[in-house]
C-alpha cells in the first residue's frame, strides 16, 4: 500500500444514504480521538509501527465499535463574531470524569498568541450509547471554564442542547440552520 500509514477517506452522504468521495487525507486527523475511544486503538502507536516497517498486528475481524464518542473543539474565538480572541488565560477549569479525555494545548496563565490556529483544546467524551455520550458531553461542557479570553464554549453548549443534535440531524448546514439564524 502506498498510503502506508493512517489515512482518511472523506465522503459526503445525503439523506438517502448516497455517498460521494470527497478527498483522502494522508495524515493523522484532528478528530482521530473519537476513533481511538470506540476502537481502543492508539492511532499514533500504529503510525509509528507502520513507519518503522512493522506489520500491522490488528486484524479487521477483531475491530468492533464499542460505544460512542464525541469530540468538541475549543477555539479561542468570540462565540458570536467568531473573531480570534488571543490573550492570557487567567483561570482554566477542566471537568474530570472517567468518560472524559482532554487533548489540550493550554493551562493556567497560558498566553494564546495570534500567530497560530485558534483551536486550543479538544474535549472528548465517550458513552455506551450515543444518548449517553451526548449527556456526558453536556455535563463536561457545563464544567469547562476558560477565563481571560473568549472561547466558543457557549456555542458548543447551545449545540448540545438542540433537539436536532440529540436526534443526530447533523447536516453540514447545522450551525447555519440552527444557531446563526437565531442571532
Amino acid at each position: 500500500m502506498i498510503t502506508k500509514n493512517a489515512g482518511t477517506i472523506e465522503f459526503l452522504v445525503d439523506e438517502d444514504q448516497n455517498f460521494y468521495f470527497l478527498e483522502m487525507n494522508t495524515r493523522l486527523q484532528v478528530e482521530h480521538p473519537v476513533t481511538e475511544l470506540i476502537t481502543g486503538v492508539d492511532l499514533v502507536e500504529q503510525q509509528l509501527k507502520v513507519a518503522n516497517g512493522e506489520e500491522l498486528t490488528l486484524k479487521q475481524e477483531d475491530l468492533t465499535i464499542q460505544g460512542h464518542s464525541l469530540e468538541a473543539r475549543i477555539y479561542a474565538e468570540d462565540p458570536k463574531t467568531f473573531f480570534p480572541s488571543p490573550g492570557k488565560i487567567t483561570k482554566l477549569t477542566l471537568p474530570e470524569a472517567s468518560y472524559i479525555r482532554h487533548d489540550i494545548a493550554v493551562d493556567d496563565g497560558y498566553q494564546v498568541t495570534p500567530y497560530y490556529d485558534p483551536m486550543i483544546a479538544k474535549l472528548i467524551v465517550s458513552g455506551n450509547t450515543r444518548e449517553e455520550a451526548v449527556e456526558n458531553l453536556k455535563k463536561a461542557l457545563s464544567g469547562y471554564e476558560v477565563d481571560g479570553i473568549k472561547t466558543n464554549i457557549p456555542l458548543l453548549r447551545d449545540i448540545v442542547e438542540l433537539q436536532a443534535f440529540k436526534d443526530g440531524q447533523t447536516r453540514t448546514s447545522f450551525i447555519q440552520e440552527h444557531i446563526l439564524i437565531n442571532q
Binding site: 498510503t3 493512517a6 465522503f11 500491522l56
Partner: protein
C-alpha cells in the same frame, strides 16, 4: 521501534504524540518558536529546540532548521502531526534522503493525493462515487462561470492543493463567483504554494462522514469505521463523533469497502505510473 522521534508540530497534537511516545519509551524531541517558549509540549518533551520566530514560515515550516535539529539529536523519525508540514512532499522526501523516517505516507502518496484533482480522476477510474464537477483545472473566472452556469448554482470552488477550508468557497451566482475565484486561488497559492482551482456541484443537506484507514508496508489495509464530522462552521469542524448516527449498517459496510477500494486504487496507480 524508533529510539528518538522529533515532533514537527505544536499545541495539543504535539502533546498527544509525546504521550504515546513516552508510553512506548521513545525519546521525544520538541521544536518550538519564540512565541511557544512556555508551551506545554516544550516542557513535556525530553528535549526541546528553538527553531525560529513566531511566524510559521520562519519556524514550524522552516524545513532546513527542523532537519538540522533532527540530525543534531539523532532523530530516527519525524512525526508531523496535522497541518504544517504533514502533507508537504518536499519535506517528506528530504528527511527520507537524510535517512530519517517520515511518520506518514511515503512522499509519493502525498503527491498523488495532495492534489484533489488527481484524486478525483483516480477515484472515478476505480468506480468510487465522486461529486459531479470539473476534472481539469479551471484557469480563470470566465471558465469558472461557464461551468457554474452549465451545472447550476450553487457550486463549490476548491483549491486542488487546499485543506482546512482554505481556498474553498460556495458561490451562489456570477457576481459571487467573480469576487471569490481569484481571491481563493491567491490564498491557495499563498498557503499551499499552488493556486490550481476546480469546481464541484454542491450536494445539498449533506453529512460529512469519513472512514479511518490504517495501511502498512506489507499490503495490509484496515478500516477503523467512520466518523461524522458534519457540524462545521466555514468548513472548520466543531463537533465530531464516532460512529456516525446517520449511517445504516448496510451503508456503513459499503462505505468502509469503498474507502479500502479507494486506497487500493491509489496503490494501483503507483504501479501504473511509477
Amino acid at each position: 521501534m524508533f529510539k528518538t522521534v522529533l515532533i514537527a508540530n505544536r499545541g495539543e497534537i504535539a502533546r498527544r504524540i509525546i504521550k504515546t511516545c513516552k508510553r512506548l519509551n521513545i525519546r521525544t524531541i520538541a521544536v518550538y518558536s519564540e512565541a511557544d517558549e512556555e508551551s506545554l509540549h516544550v516542557r513535556e518533551a525530553d528535549e526541546a529546540h528553538l527553531i525560529g520566530p513566531a511566524r510559521v514560515n520562519e519556524s514550524y515550516l522552516n524545513v532546513d532548521r527542523i532537519i538540522e535539529v533532527a540530525k543534531e539529536t539523532g532523530t530516527d523519525a519525524i512525526h508531523p502531526g496535522y497541518g504544517l508540514l504533514s502533507e508537504n512532499t518536499d519535506f517528506a522526501k528530504r528527511i527520507q534522503d537524510e535517512g530519517i523516517a517520515f511518520v506518514g505516507p511515503d512522499a509519493f502518496a502525498i503527491e498523488k493525493m495532495g492534489s484533489k484533482l488527481t484524486a478525483r480522476a483516480t477515484m472515478e477510474e476505480a468506480g468510487v462515487p465522486i461529486i459531479p464537477g470539473t476534472n481539469d483545472p479551471i484557469a480563470n473566472t470566465d471558465e469558472a462561470k461557464t461551468f457554474a452556469n452549465k451545472t447550476g448554482y450553487p457550486v463549490m470552488l476548491k483549491a486542488s492543493h487546499g485543506g482546512g477550508g482554505i481556498g474553498m468557497q460556495i458561490v451562489h451566482d456570477d457576481a459571487e463567483l467573480e469576487k471569490a475565484f481569484e481571491s481563493n486561488a491567491r490564498r491557495a497559492e499563498q498557503f499551499f504554494g499552488n493556486g490550481t482551482m476546480f469546481i464541484e456541484k454542491v450536494i445539498e443537506d449533506a453529512h460529512h462522514v469519513e472512514i479511518q484507514l490504517l495501511a502498512d508496508h506489507h499490503g495490509n489495509v484496515l478500516h477503523l469505521f467512520d466518523r461524522e464530522c458534519s457540524i462545521q462552521r466555514r468548513h472548520q469542524k466543531v463537533i465530531e463523533e464516532a460512529p456516525s448516527p446517520l449511517l445504516t449498517e448496510e451503508t456503513r459496510q459499503k462505505m468502509a469497502d469503498a474507502a479500502i477500494k479507494a486506497a487500493k486504487a491509489i496503490d494501483y496507480k503507483k504501479c501504473w505510473y511509477d
